[in-house]
């Protein structure tokens, strides 16, 4: 007599699981928007800011990229209260994921920026464009275009990696799955279904991001900046 799978109990909790999937998606999207803004700022600072700011931006990127996300979350959630800053678990999770995505995203974006030929920037300067317009139209947009596939991949990785936020009691798909499996003891069934949900979300995200790429950067524009 082996283990008998009982998926009925999973079906009973389908709305809880879907709610968890929604929370995970919402967290990942919010963190990627904040993180991308941060990444733009940091990538800009690392190229153009005065030396001390540049050094600070580099230190941020190296610190975040060379320490585990889980430990970063523990610091945000468990250590900051000792300094008087008490974040809720969900806020700490959002800040932690945004900071993490910002660090990785800025490196990807910086790679894109370095691929812009110096001559193109000099040409823009010769045309009399302002520094802001040069950064926006001549550097940032083409850099985003080049870096888009890597950024999209990083986004999906971050969505999957967000499963660690349950460790600081933030609510996401993993947290809800853990609670359900620990109250029903149907751990195989719930973990199978959670895995399938993560897989479905990752595939759907990749598909959506691919579509968005075609809309944001139509082929005509793409060939123009190659």
């Amino acid at each position: 007599m082996g283990y008998v799978f009982q998926f009925g109990v999973v079906w009973d909790h389908r709305w809880d699981l879907l709610y968890g999937a929604w929370l995970t998606l919402r967290l990942a999207v919010a963190a990627s928007v904040l993180g991308l803004l941060l990444a733009c700022l940091v990538a800009y600072a690392r190229q153009n800011a005065p030396r001390p700011v540049r050094a600070a931006a580099a230190a941020y990127v190296e610190f975040l990229r060379n320490t585990p996300l889980l430990v970063q979350l523990f610091v945000l959630y468990f250590s900051l209260p000792m300094l008087g800053l008490r974040l809720t678990a969900d806020t700490a999770a959002l800040i932690g994921l945004s900071l993490n995505f910002g660090a990785y995203g800025s490196e990807i974006l910086r790679g894109g920026m370095l691929s812009i030929p110096q001559g193109q920037i000099e040409a823009a300067r010769a045309l009399g464009l302002s520094a802001w317009r040069i950064f926006r139209h001549v550097v940032l947009m083409p850099a985003l275009n080049v870096a888009y596939p890597a950024l999209a991949s990083q986004f999906v990785l971050m969505m999957l990696g967000s499963s660690v936020v349950s460790a600081i009691s933030a609510t996401d798909l993993t947290a809800i799955t853990n609670t359900l499996q620990s109250t029903t003891f149907r751990s195989f069934e719930f973990y199978f279904v959670a895995t399938a949900l993560y897989l479905a979300m990752a595939l759907a995200l990749r598909f959506a991001l691919g579509l968005a790429y075609r809309v944001l950067f139509p082929p005509a524009l793409r060939s123009g900046t190659a």
Binding site: G2, Y3, S166, S169, S182, F185, F188
Partner: protein, 270 residues
Amino acid sequence: MDRRKLFGAGGAAGIVLAAGVVPDQAKAQDSMSVLDRIQRDKKVRITAEVDSPPFGILDSSGQPDGSEIATARQLAKDLGVDLEFVQVNATQRIPALLAGRADIAISSLSITTDRAKTIAFCSPHGALSIVVCGPKKTVITDAASMAGKRIALTRATLEEATVPKVAPKGTDIVFFDDIAATIQALLSGQVDAAGMSAFAAKSIADRNPGAAIENKFTVTTAYYSPVVRQADESLRHWIDTWVFVNSRNGVLAGIYEKYTGVALPPLPVI
């Protein structure tokens, strides 16, 4: 592109691996009982939860220690076989058993009818109280006064099964995956109070005198026992016999008192 391929392959491998566990276990049980296999291989695998004082901790040399660890060692000794500890956290205790990673779970698993639907309890070898504890400044005197307070609980524990039932509306309950995170949340002030065993609360209070942690009220008292898979009838019967013998000769009481500092209450049988 490469990254995407890696993902696909990893995901598929994970599913295949997870699915492979169950048929293996089923095969082993068809041919011989787990009790037979333990005696043939001269080895029993028992769960060790080492972040749950006083049941299981790591001693100063990094070795597992605690009342449940001592119980497991005594049981393996009486079986006459070698003992292999399978390290788990609170959430993994039952999954590790069901997945066949461990033969027996001896990790302060309290007896509940819900749990008994998926695993089999032996006769209890210990008892514990669940308390809500917190710093002096938190004003909680009974279940009703938890309203408006943030209470930390550990998933897959007796406190998770009992505290929410007595908590009034408006109690903000947050869940952690292991007791270490729950304790950290309590000590860092992220929560107003936490639900846990009376022993864990005593151990935190003793080790952190500055935090002034005290027991607010007792939620329930429960019995815990060794746990086996439902199919392993002969193993369960042997363990029941072992519990009977060792509660009569005082061995279980000795272990319990050594680690908890409390006398072992009379143990009922299952």
